[in-house]
Symmetry: C2
Subunit: 214 residues, 2 copies
C-alpha cells in the first residue's frame, strides 16, 4: 500500500474495492493480463472514473496509456483489504444460517476461513458442522486466544445478539458481521456491519407499484 497516510476513505469505496477484487480474480483466471478502467466498468458496471478515484485513495497503481496489470492490482487491493493471507473468522450461532455460512465455499475465494463455531445449545455443542466442532459459546474467550480471530460473525436470534457481541469483543474480536436484526452497542474501535434480510425485502417491496402489489 502506498498512500492513505491519513484516512477518510468513503465506505462505498471500500465496498466497491471488494467488488473489484472479485472481478480481478475472474479476469486473472481468464488469463487476462491488463485491464483499463473502462474494462472494469464493462465487467462490474461501476463507472470508470469512479474506479480510478477509488484507487486514488490508496496510491497510483496504473500506467497511463496502458492500464493496470491484473495480477498486480489484485494483489494490491488484497493487501489494502488485508486479505492477502488467510483471515480467521469465528461464528456464533449454529442454526440454519450459521450452517449455510460455514458451508459456503465462496468465503475461501477471498481468503476468509471460519475457524471456530460456537453455540449455547447443549444439543449442538460437541456435534460437527461440516469440518468444525461446535463449541460452547461460554468458552469463546479461551478458544479464541488460540484461534486469534479478529473478525466475528453473529448468526443468532436478535434477543441474544448483544450478549454474543459482548463475549466476542471480550475474546478480542474487532470487527463484527451481524445477521441479527438488532443494533449492537459496541465500544470505540469495534466496527459492526449489519445484514438484515427483512430490511432488504422491505426496500424491494417499496419499489413495487400499487397495482402490482395487489
Amino acid at each position: 500500500m502506498r498512500k492513505n497516510n491519513g484516512h477518510k476513505v468513503p465506505m462505498p469505496t471500500l465496498e466497491r474495492l471488494a467488488t473489484y477484487l472479485t472481478s480481478l480474480t475472474e479476469l486473472a483466471d481468464q488469463q487476462v493480463q491488463t485491464v483499463s478502467s473502462s474494462d472494469i466498468e464493462q465487467v462490474t458496471g461501476i463507472n470508470a472514473a469512479q474506479f480510478r478515484k477509488d484507487l486514488s485513495y490508496f496510491g497510483e497503481f496504473g500506467r497511463p496509456g496502458i492500464g493496470y496489470n491484473v495480477l498486480e492490482l489484485r494483489s494490491w487491493i488484497a493487501q489494502i483489504l488485508k486479505v492477502e493471507r488467510e483471515q480467521p473468522v469465528i461464528l456464533v450461532g449454529a442454526g440454519n444460517l450459521g450452517s449455510a455460512l460455514v458451508g459456503y465455499a465462496g468465503l475461501g475465494i477471498q481468503n476468509f476461513r471460519i475457524c471456530g463455531v460456537f453455540d449455547n445449545n447443549y444439543n449442538k455443542i460437541g456435534r460437527r458442522l461440516w469440518d468444525q466442532e461446535i463449541m460452547d459459546v461460554a468458552t469463546i474467550v479461551e478458544a479464541n486466544s488460540e484461534i486469534q480471530a479478529r473478525i466475528g460473525v453473529i448468526a443468532v436470534p436478535a434477543s441474544v445478539g448483544q450478549d454474543v457481541a459482548n463475549r466476542m469483543i471480550e475474546a478480542g474480536v474487532k470487527s463484527i458481521l451481524n445477521f441479527a436484526p438488532t443494533r449492537l452497542k459496541v465500544p470505540e474501535g469495534v466496527v459492526v456491519r449489519n445484514v438484515d434480510f427483512v430490511q432488504e425485502l422491505a426496500v424491494l417491496a417499496f419499489h413495487l407499484s400499487e397495482d402490482e402489489s395487489e
Copy 2:
C-alpha cells in the same frame, strides 16, 4: 400514505424506514403508546432529525409537542413499504442458504412469506423444504402465474445467477434480492439488491489495524 406525489426518496431513507418498522413493532409489543423522535434515536441509534426528515418525504405523521402514536406510525410505515398485507416471495436455490431463508421465522414478522421454492437439481425437486415442496425451476413461469409473487430471492451459485434472474423476470418478478456474487443485468423497471457476505467481510477486514491482522 399522504404525499410523495413525486418520487425521489433517498435510498438510505428507505433502508431506515425498515429499521423504524422493526423498532416500532418492538415498542408496540411493550405497550408503548407514544414516541418522540428522540425516543427513536435512543432505540435505533438513528439521529432524531434524520428520522423526522425521513418521514417528511411521505407526509406528516406526528403531533408537535406530543410525538407519534406507535401503532398509527407503524401502520403508516408498513403501508409505505407495502407490507401491510402479506407479500408473497419466491426463492430459487434450495441449498444451505435457501434452506436457512425458508426456515427463517423473522420474515413473517414483516409480513413476507416464501410461497414457492425452486431448484434445478433433480435430487432436490419434489422433496420438501420445511413446509414447501421444491419445484423444478423450469416450471417457474407457470408456477408463479398461480403464486403471483413480485419479489424473488436468488440463492444459487454465481454461475447461474443471471439465468435464474432472467427466468424470474419472465415469471413476473419485479424486485430481486440477489445473494449470488454477480452483478445482474436486468431490464428497466426491475429492481435488484445485492447481499454479498464476502464483500461485507472484506470491508470488515479493512478496518483491522496492521498489528492486529498479524
